[in-house]
Amino acid sequence: MPAVQETVDRVKRIDVDQYRYGFETLIESDKAPKGLSEETVKFISEKKNEPAWMLQWRLEAYRRWLTMTEPTWARVDYPKIDFQDLYYYSAPKPKKTITSLDEIDPEILKTYEKLGIPLREVAMLEGVEPKPGEEDPNRRKIAVDAVFDSVSVATTFKAELKKAGVIFMPISEAIREHPELVQKYLGSVVPTSDNFYATLNSAVFSDGSFVYVPPGVRCPMELSTYFRINERNTGQFERTLIIADKGSYVSYLEGCTAPQRDENQLHAAVVELVAHDDAEIKYSTVQNWYPGNSEGKGGIYNFVTKRGDCRGDRSKISWTQVETGSAITWKYPSCILRGDNSSGEFYSIAISNGYQQVDSGTKMIHLGKNTSSRIISKGIAAGKSQNTYRGLVTAHRKATGARNFTACDSLLIGDKCGAHTVPYIEAKNSSATFEHEATTSKISEDVLFYCIQRGLSQEEAVGLVVNGFVKDVLQQLPMEFAVEAQKLISISLEGSVG
């Protein structure tokens, strides 16, 4: 049997059902009535004890949203979403104020344990501070904010961060405790009117993370948020806002999983980053939402707006993403290079298998002088998936000396999948230098056989070759997560070749 035929046969047997995080947690929850109306928006705002300005902000977004239509330009195909058939808010019961991890429903803690996110362990570390010089360098501390359906259930290391002046808390709390900061920055990067999904998010977002790093502070640990969708028919609309004040630095990691369900679930998040003069934000995502089963049933619809504003001179924002899950991914983490000499980076690994559809990329908008950006995108398509890179690089009239380097590489596994590259480049300033490189290759049967002849199984061979292909991007991730991502890449390609 020719090798290609064998590949195709194996792909047919693909078992995306091996999704590891597909369990469901049985807990009681407190939900908003199904459907979306002004009442729903008010219900959410009330649940969160929000001030009047916040409710007004949401209602304006909601009214705006009613006038908008879903975008159709992306290379993704899915049945029409009935926005009245969803729940917009779901909180685990009992809903009293949580002051320590012991008060969290043990079922939820177990969920995070299964996910490998050690909330309890991390919290315990807080009590037993190692003496200076005795810290275990292999055990870097990571502060975690865990978001379960619509609410944040736990944030660790709050006290230690507070000492450094860093604010890291659920955004619902920040709205009450730091209204001046939230009001100043919320919607300042992604305006409420930005796009269909961002506007929807502005109306109904229920939680997410808020980070503020004061001037000159280097955040003492990695910050991280884990999102988990549990409830059936519930949309997840989280909102993240990160502000790095002058000369500060923060590295933030986001991870996501969801149970395995036959029906599709909607996730429409908004992430806004603001970097002032000389500040740097490094934002990493390991997205592993449920991708749907081997027939393409179920899975998360992931419509996300992520944007960073390099507002200050010499500021820097770097996006790194490893996208392995979701039935549909619609996501373009972008940088607005407003400050002079500011720089933006986008490093991406997007893997699609089974019937997954990925339309992802970035926008680099050069406004300031001598701004630079760098895009390294690695797309891997297997099974019957479609994987599109869509990128926009523009230089404004005043952006003298703007520089961009883009390299987009696609790797195809089998011959039922597709990879597409759609670059848009606009230079309104003649001094701009934009470089674009793109390659598409098929995973070579000869390379696989070479590895197999040396003792690797077919799957190990694919994993090795793909990990080599994405190496430049993996190196951008914080070390712990690079290892995790490497494993995830191999798992998500299981059964992709025969």
Partner: protein, 250 residues
């Protein structure tokens, strides 16, 4: 018991028969040379022994240490001691040679139920072997065969042969693209690995290589069959009179 027994092997590629009943027996410790004109099926034979997909065996059998080789997955054959040094070793960008060697060695050991080799032992072994093959350490940090010269690629094959310690080494056109110096280094590496427990099958179009790796037995292949076998003088004979005399025999 013979190490390798190929009996009346018939192989098709895309509906076309390439090997028409090939028989070959290799015992432990022997060095065999397989010579033949381009297109006679030498590489096909090596690929079928190693288990490359895309070949259909329609008749005959292959026994390795008495076991049915054709029933084994290719990676299982590797773990059991079948090694093929490729004519054109592939490049694997982003995977360092060192990482590749370790991953492959541990995969083979695992398949044999052995424990992983400890990192210091592994490194020591790689250093020793690469030194004797004149392989610089920085080459091991580069992507597998990426930017390697022809000679470096072949030495990398010999390095793997030394590390994995197979009992059957098949070398497909090891001399292609090598100058005399590169050929000598690679051949010395191969000779150093010759042992009473290990057999070598050297596939070559030219007699030249056999000045460096001296065979016990020479087979002439033509049109998918072994048409003549003899001692090392057969190679010399071929060099002088060419393959034409065998075309009719096939």
């Amino acid at each position: 018991m013979a190490l390798l027994e190929v009996k009346d092997l018939k192989v098709r590629v895309e509906e076309r028969e390439i090997l028409h009943g090939l028989t070959l027996t290799v015992n432990e410790g022997e060095i065999h040379a397989i010579m033949g004109p381009n297109g006679s099926g030498k590489s096909t034979l090596s690929h079928v022994i190693a288990g490359k997909p895309g070949y259909e065996v329609t008749d005959g059998q292959i026994l390795f240490k008495g076991e049915d080789l054709l029933e084994m997955a290719p990676e299982e054959r590797a773990a059991k001691g079948v090694f093929l040094a490729f004519q054109y070793p592939v490049e694997i960008p982003g995977v360092t040679t060192m990482n590749f060697l370790r991953t492959a060695l541990n995969a083979q050991r695992k398949a044999r139920g052995e424990s992983e080799l400890m990192v210091p032992d592994f490194l020591k072994k790689v250093r020793e072997v690469s030194k004797s093959l004149n392989i610089p350490q920085d080459m091991l940090k580069r992507g597998v065969n990426v930017g390697f010269s022809g000679g470096e690629k072949k030495r990398n094959e010999v390095l793997q042969m030394a590390l994995f310690e197979p009992s059957l080494c098949i070398l497909d056109e090891m001399d292609s693209g090598l100058d005399i110096d590169a050929l000598r280094i690679a051949a010395d590496g191969v000779n150093a690995l010759h042992s009473p427990k290990r057999a070598m099958v050297v596939i070559t179009h030219y007699q030249r290589l056999l000045n460096y790796i001296v065979p016990d037995i020479v087979h002439v292949m033509s049109k998918g069959r072994v048409v003549k076998s003899g001692g090392k003088e057969l190679a010399q004979e071929l060099e002088e009179s060419g393959y034409a005399q065998f075309e009719d025999a096939a």
